[in-house]
Every structure is written in C-alpha cells, then in structure tokens.
C-alpha cells in the first residue's frame, strides 16, 4: 500500500521534473507514461477491498509540506504585490498569519496521515483515468495551440509540467487525512489553476488568472479560518477523527460552515462562480481537467468528507438550498450563453450545485446521488470539453452558432458531442440516474424540490438545443469523416464508451463502493438505502429499473438506427421554405430580390431577460442571502 501511495504522488512529480528539463519533442510521452502508471495504480487501489483504510506512513513529509505551504503563500503574496492586487495580498497575508499561528499551536506535528476509503477510491480512479485521456488529447491540441497563437513566451513543457503537478496535488488531496495537508494540496490546485489560466499570457488570460487566484485565496482563507476554529473546539487535525468524534455544537457548525464555504469556492458555487467562467480562456485541456472533471470536485470531496458531521441539522438544509439555488440560477444563466465553453462552465457549476444540494439533503439516498453524479459528471464533462476543444481548433471559434450544422464538417466529433449532451439529460444514463435520486430524495423539502424541478427543465433546454444545433447538415454536400490525429480521436471514443457503458456498471459501483461507505456511517444515514434488485435501484419511495431500461434503450437505438439506414437509401428532399424557389446548385433558396439566401436560424438566448444586469444582480444578491442563511444555519 505504501508503495502505491508513494508512486501516486511521486511519479507525476518526477515526470513533471523530467518534462521541465527535456525538450518537448522528446518529452511528449513522458506525461502519458506517468499517468498510465498512476491510472494502473488507482485501478489497483480501487480493486482492493479489505484493507486498513487509515495508514500511518513510515516516512514523514510533514515538515516539508509545512515549508512548501509557506513558500506557496509567499509566492501568492508576491504575485499579489506584482499585480497590485489588494484582495490577493490581504487574503494571502491573513492566511499566512493564520497558518503560522496554527502550525505553532499544533505542537505534536503528526505524521503523514492517510485515509483511503471507498470515496477516495472512486475519486482516485476517475481523476487519474480522466487525466490520462485529457493528457493524450492535449498533446496534439497543445502543439496546434502553440502554432495557432504563435506563442513564444510560454512553452508546452511548462504546461504539461503544471498539469502533472496538478495531478500529483489532486492525488495528495484525495488520500490525505490531515487537515493542514489537505489545505496544502488545496492550495496546490489553486496554484496550478492560476498558472494554467494565465498560460497564454494574453491580457485577458492574465486578468482571469488573477481573478481565479483572488477567489481561491479567499477559499483558502475560509479553510484556514474554519480549521483554526475546529482545532480550538476539537484539537485534532485528523479529519476522520473529527468527523467521527467531534462534538457538534453550534459554534462548531459555524466553523464547519467556513470549511464548507472553502469547498464551495473551489466548486465555483454562487456567488463565487466568476473565476470558473474566467478560467475558460485557458486552453481547453486545462478547462477539461481543472475546471470540470476534477479540480472542482475537490470542493465536493471536501464537503462529502465532512457531510456526516452535519447530517440532520438546519445547516445542512441551508447548504442544500444554496446548492439548489446555484443549480437553478446558473442553468438559467447558461441559456443566455452562446459561447460553448461558457455553457459548459455554467453547466458544470450548475451540476456541482446539484451535487451540493444532494450533500445538503444528507440522507443515504442523496449521498448516493451525490456520488453517482460526481462520478458520471466527471466523465461526461471531460468528454464534452475534449469535443469542444477538438471542434474549436477546427473551426477557430467557440461560438455555438458557428457550430451549427457541424455534422457536415466533422461528423464523428459532432455525433460524439451530441451523444455526450444527450447523456447529460436523458435516462438511462448516469447523470439522469443521479438526478432521479436527487429529486426523489429532496421531495421532502418543497422549496428545494421546486428549484431542482425548474433547474432540471432548464438544463434540458440548453442541452437539447446544443445537441440539435450540431445535428443538421447542409443538403447537397457529401459528408466524409473528418481526419484527425489518433491522439485526438482515441480519447474521445474511449470517453464516449465510458459515458455510455459505465451507467450499466453503476449498480455494481453502488453495491461495492457506495453502499459500504454509507454503511460506515449507518448511525447517521439510517433508512431508505437503495437496494439492488435485478439491476434496479429500489428504496421505499421508488425504483429505477436500470438494467431493463438500459436494454430497452439499446433496443430502441437499434430500431431507430435500422430505420435511419433505411431512410438513407432515398435521396434527400429540400426542406419547406414557403414554396420559395429552390436553388438547385446549392442549399438554400432565392429570395424575391434574387439573392441567394442560406437559411439561417439561431437559438433564443433570451438576452433581454437573462443578460440584463438586473437578473444577474438579483442572482448575486439572492446567493449572498443564501450564503448568509447558510452561515447562520451553522449558528442555530
């Protein structure tokens, strides 16, 4: 076990170092090799069943981590100073002082605490595997990206180096059981994200990277405030011990709320969502890795870890409402977006809101929902981001409207994207399984369930529209498969398969990993656990016959596909243009002025409603109210 953990952390670090030194043309495959190793290890760890989840490693890096922590904060302070950014300076100096104080308080500096339980196993698995595919995809992407922008100032070595550092940080974050180490890894992700967002060194990129740093520093500060408070009430830095043994009183909940707030900043919940949107200027692999499938999950992970502590409290309910509100509000904001990456970003925030709502509901069913959503969301979002990355490089635009009729241009990628979008909203795929669980388990909370209902409808709107946009094609053009590098295509195909087939595996995932995890807290999460009967999830309120639905879906797909092939035998007809004359040579019609018109349509972005600053203002205000409610919820 020790050796596994050591490799999980050190292999990416080593690879990072190597990539930094060796010229890129030679170093290309180093990150991939490193990630294949970590993936294999994470699979191995995932397959372990009976092991001692808490390890006390023989080696002790504690002091090293402390030192690095300070260096990190100093680095942030330096950046704040250079950029004359007062908030960054303020947050980080406060953090520095708090950390100093805390490190001095914790005299018996403990060992390197490790906790690998079922959720860590799941997290490790998808973080490593998804990273692997994103890395593979990133190689051709970054090469092109560099050519495209003729970037001189930055190097791809740098880029991969930071990505690898990030993977190491993420792995550390998942396995550590030490509150301050968790903080350190938390800050590592902040660092990586700061560096990667600013990677292109354009003005916008720099500004957005500073925004990310600012907000994440605030998150770090929250974390430290929370942990200092917790430490005073329950003097331990062992997270597991805190969760299991700490006395839950209102002051304790207040500090816990700060920790949760840190998680919410990392997960870009309202009103801290801005940094994630800004982060979309970064090259797409960054967005895919950091800002959708993995890094934002760090916040979720944090909340999940602490969730048993606040079960059945008013605080938990307010957390759920916060999440629900984010789910609804950001889904609404997503309608107004025509930038594909921004839609993805809003959708990420929205889904994270849903997950947080599930954590807030804090029943066995909802925790199951949260885990299922986390797992499938990671795969699905990674797929969609990679698709957009591929498309973006081909058409040199991120605008959704420019992707209309994409099927003509790049049929394979378009279809993969469409299926990715469909998997976000329709049964029997994983996201919907999660949503079903979420709504059923939130039904007791009327306000929340209405927010989820509205939000899920809006989600359907923007995804369906997205999928529809890609499907059309221009009539008289012959469609041929686009040529793209295998390194681009393979990750897409594999992730597509994952998105499609993994849901079928979810009963097993539940049985083997989630169910035992929930059972460990059976004193808190008591009734209405899902049971598996013949491949269907069942509890006392409802049942989701996953296997039958899956088989029906496959059957339906083949039926429809058969008729699709049948239809393809006939030539296409021209659509209805009010009888206007059809230009035979190409697609479209001739208008009365004799001009050829290519029919143009665009989505409704409801700009008067959604983009209007009033709505944004109201959403911000309301979210602040929810946050206050939430902090107050801790006090009650």
């Amino acid at each position: 076990m020790d050796i596994y953990i050591l490799t999980l952390l050190s292999i990416p670090l080593l690879a990072a170092l190597l990539v930094y030194i060796v010229p890129f043309s030679k170093a290309k495959y180093i990150p991939i090799l490193a990630l294949i190793t970590t993936s294999i290890i994470s699979i191995k760890i995932f397959n372990l069943n009976n092991f001692d989840s808490q390890l006390n490693l023989k080696f002790n890096y504690s002091h090293l981590i402390t030192v690095l922590d300070f260096i990190l904060l100093l680095f942030f302070i330096k950046k704040g100073w250079e950029n004359k950014d007062k908030p960054i300076l303020f947050f980080n100096i406060s953090s520095l002082l708090l950390l100093l104080f805390l490190e001095l308080k914790i005299d018996n500096s403990p060992n390197f605490l490790i906790n690998i339980d079922n959720i860590s196993q799941i997290m490790l698995l998808f973080v490593n595997i998804i990273s692997l595919f994103i890395f593979i995809h990133a190689i051709p992407y970054m090469q092109k990206h560099r050519e495209h922008f003729s970037l001189k100032t930055t190097s791809n070595n740098n880029f991969f180096c930071i990505l690898l550092l990030f993977v190491a940080g993420m792995n550390g974050l998942i396995i550590t059981n030490h509150l301050l180490h968790f903080y350190f890894f938390f800050e590592i992700t902040t660092l990586c994200s700061y560096l990667l967002i600013g990677h292109d060194r354009t003005q916008e990129a720099v500004a957005n990277s500073l925004l990310a740093l600012r907000l994440n520093s605030l998150g770090g500060l929250f974390f430290l405030i929370g942990s200092t408070g917790l430490y005073f009430i329950f003097p331990s830095v062992d997270i597991l011990k805190i969760v299991q043994k700490a006395p839950v009183n209102s002051l304790f909940l207040l500090f816990l709320a700060y920790i949760c707030l840190a998680g919410m900043v990392k997960s870009a919940q309202l009103p801290f969502q801005k940094w994630l949107l800004g982060a979309m200027v970064a090259p797409t692999p960054t967005s895919a890795l950091l800002h959708s499938s993995t890094m934002v999950k760090a916040g979720i992970y944090l909340l999940l870890r602490f969730s048993p502590l606040f079960a059945n409290t008013f605080f938990s309910t307010t957390l759920a409402l916060c999440g629900g509100f984010t789910f609804l509000a950001t889904a609404l904001l997503a309608i107004g977006q025509d930038n594909a990456k921004k839609v993805l970003a809003y959708s990420t925030i929205s889904n994270l809101g849903l997950i947080i709502a599930c954590i807030g509901i804090n029943t066995p069913a909802s925790i199951t929902a949260a885990l299922i959503l986390t797992f499938f969301h990671a795969f699905n979002k990674a797929l969609l981001f990679l698709c957009i990355g591929t498309i973006e490089q081909k058409i040199a635009s991120r605008n959704l409207e420019d992707m209309r009729n994409l099927y003509t241009l790049m049929p394979l990628t378009a279809i993969i994207t469409v299926f990715g979008a469909i998997a976000m909203i329709l049964p029997p795929f994983g996201m919907l399984l999660g949503k079903w669980m979420a709504i059923e388990s939130s039904a007791q909370n009327i306000l929340l369930v209405l927010m989820l209902a509205l939000g899920s409808a809006v989600t359907v709107l923007y995804w369906a529209r997205w999928a529809g946009l890609f499907m059309g094609y221009k009539l008289r053009e012959k469609i041929k498969l686009e040529s793209q590098s295998l390194l681009t295509r393979i990750p897409l195909l594999i992730l597509l398969l994952a998105v499609f087939l993994l849901p079928a595996y979810s009963p097993w995932l539940y049985q083997e990993k989630i169910y035992p995890f929930i059972l460990t807290y059976s004193h808190i999460w008591k009734n209405n656990l899902y049971l598996l009967l013949g491949g269907s999830f069942q509890n006392s309120f409802g049942s989701f016959p996953l296997f039958p639905l899956f088989s029906l879906a496959i059957l339906g797909f083949f039926i429809a596909h058969y008729f699709l092939l049948k239809a393809k035998r006939k030539p296409l007809e021209i659509p209805y243009f009010s009888g206007l004359s059809i230009d035979k040579s190409s697609f479209g019609y001739v208008n009365p002025l004799g001009q050829r018109v290519i029919p143009k349509t665009s989505n409704y972005y409801l700009l008067q409603v959604i983009e209007n600053s009033k709505l944004a203002l109201w959403i911000d205000r309301l979210s602040l109210i929810f946050i206050l409610l939430f902090l107050g919820g801790g006090l009650r």
Binding site: L580, P592, L593, V597, K600, S602, Y605, Q608
Partner: protein, 358 residues
Amino acid sequence: MPKTIIPFGPQHPVLPEPLHFSLTVEDEIVQEAIPGFGYVHRGLEKLCEIKDIHKMIQVVERVCGICSKIHALCYCEGIEQMMGVEVPPRAKYLRTIWSELHRMHSHLLWLGLFADSFGFESLFYHFWRIREKILDINEKTAGNRIIVSVNILGGVKRDLSTEDQKWILAELKEIENKLEEVKDTLFKDYTISKRTKGKGILSAEEALYLGAVGPVLRASGVAQDCRQLQYAAFSELDFEPVIAQEGDSFARMQVRYFELFQSIDLIRQALSKIPEGPISVKVKGYPEGENVFRVEQPRGEVFYYFKANGSKFLDRLRIRTPTFANVPALAKMLTGIELADVPVVILSIDPCISCTER
C-alpha cells in the same frame, strides 16, 4: 448576435394570399421585414388596350374578388363622369346597397381571418357562418355568390324586388343579432385583448405621413372616409365615419366591427329611401380625356385614373388600391413585434395583395 431569417410566404398557411416577407428575427422579435411582391401580378391594367370599356367592367371586378362590386362601381362611375352620363337614381341606390353588402362580407371575412391569425379557430368559423348569409343575399339577388357582376355602364343589370328587399331586411336583422352576440367576445375576451392590444401601433401622425387609408387610418383617430365624397347614393344617406383612437390591431378590429353596423344602417336607409324608376340608361359613344375617381372600399380609398382617347379602348387605366397605400405603414408596424404577432399585424391592415399587384 446571429439572427434567424424566416421566408414568410409566398405559400404560407396564415397568409391567404401569396406575399413574401423576409423576416429577420432575434429571439422571435422582428428586427427587419422586407416585403416581396409580384406573385399575383397579372398586368390587368394593360388589358384595357384589348378589351373595350364594357368588357373592362368584368376585368376590374376581378382586380379582387372580395370587393369586386366596389371596383366595378368605381370604374363605372369614373367612366360615366367622363362621358357625362346621368345614372338613374334607383340604380344609384342599388349600387349603394350592393356595395355595402360587399363591405359587410369583406369585413366579416376579415374578422374571421383575423381570429384565425391569433389562433381562435372557432371564432373564425363563427364569423364565416354569419358571412354566408350575405353571400346568400348576393346569390339570390345578383346570381353569383362572390363576383356579382351587376354593374354596367349607365346603371345596374338587376333590380331588387319588394320581396327581396323585405328578405334582405329580415336577414340583416338576424345578422345584427348574431353580431351583437360576439361583441363581448371580441372586446372583452382576455386572450384576444392579450394578442391584439398594443400590437402594431400606428399614431395618427404616422398614419397620415405614411399614407395609410381606410380602417387603418380611422383606427388611428383620423375621420376620413371616401364615402363622404358622395358618390352613388351616399350623398342622400346619413352616416359618420367610425373611428377609434389607439391605432393598434385591437382598434382596427373595433373600427371594422362597428362599420358592419354602419353598413347595416346604410342599407336600411337606402332601402327605405329607394326611389322607383329605371335601373339603367343606354350608354352611347366612348369617353375621351382624363379622369380620376375615388371610392371607399372595405380596406380604404381606391383610386382610379382613366385616360381615354374616344375609341372603345381606354388608353390607360391605373388603379391605386388601399393595400398598396397601407404597405408602408405595415412595414413600419412589423419591426419590433414578436413573430407570433406578425400574422396578427399583417392581417390587421386587411391586406389584399390581389388588388395591390393587379
């Protein structure tokens, strides 16, 4: 911001006639509306060079089948004026009666189509049921339901017997009752008001500036009605133009609805005052010179220009129709409204493309 361009027409289920609008919409709000015409253009004004002045009556009746009688009336009175023919008074009254019947059938038809434009199917059917009564009157008294062909130069072809007159009055009474019945629906129904109020607003100044005519103009508060020019027997009848103030689609509906009652009243007056006597005089010779004549059609003022050279063919016949005059106003009204309101606003001017393009 990318836009949607909709080829609205020429064949489109809510447009009764072929007419094209290239609508540029954004979130279903119309940004730009470019009309395209020419799908009904026949060039019938030119037929005056090969069809003599008597045959041209049948041609101008078919400028538009809806108010064909009034076209023929305008044409005949214009020619008669040039030739100095005095039409017998009974013929004048008969012309008035038929032309008012035409106005009623046209307005009823319009009310129906208007209801259809905002998706009120049963109201559409209701109005068309009422309208059938007028068509029956046409058929019984003139021999055809729609294109009645009663006008000739110098008078009319057919007379109304006393029984017919009585029957018409009885039918009118019934129509009046039926119209009263739907008054609440038109003016107090929530959904109708929702769809028509404030849609396609035209102020009085704009209406005058853009040259709008007929109910469109009157709905903006301008009391202008060509029947006050006193052609046919209108000089002897008592009426005031119906007006409304708001200038929106609802106001236009209001004007047309109340004009129905005005027409009923006019027909009653005419029937009570109708003198005995011949219904036509013989017209000899051919006109010479130039003339213009204007009458009020259901859609507004129609304008005929004649140029004659003393032969049996006219040199030039030029018809300016009310819809033609209303199109600039329409183009103005279409911008800034919702796509769903486009049919409502287009229909609110009661477009008649057939006469616009001739």
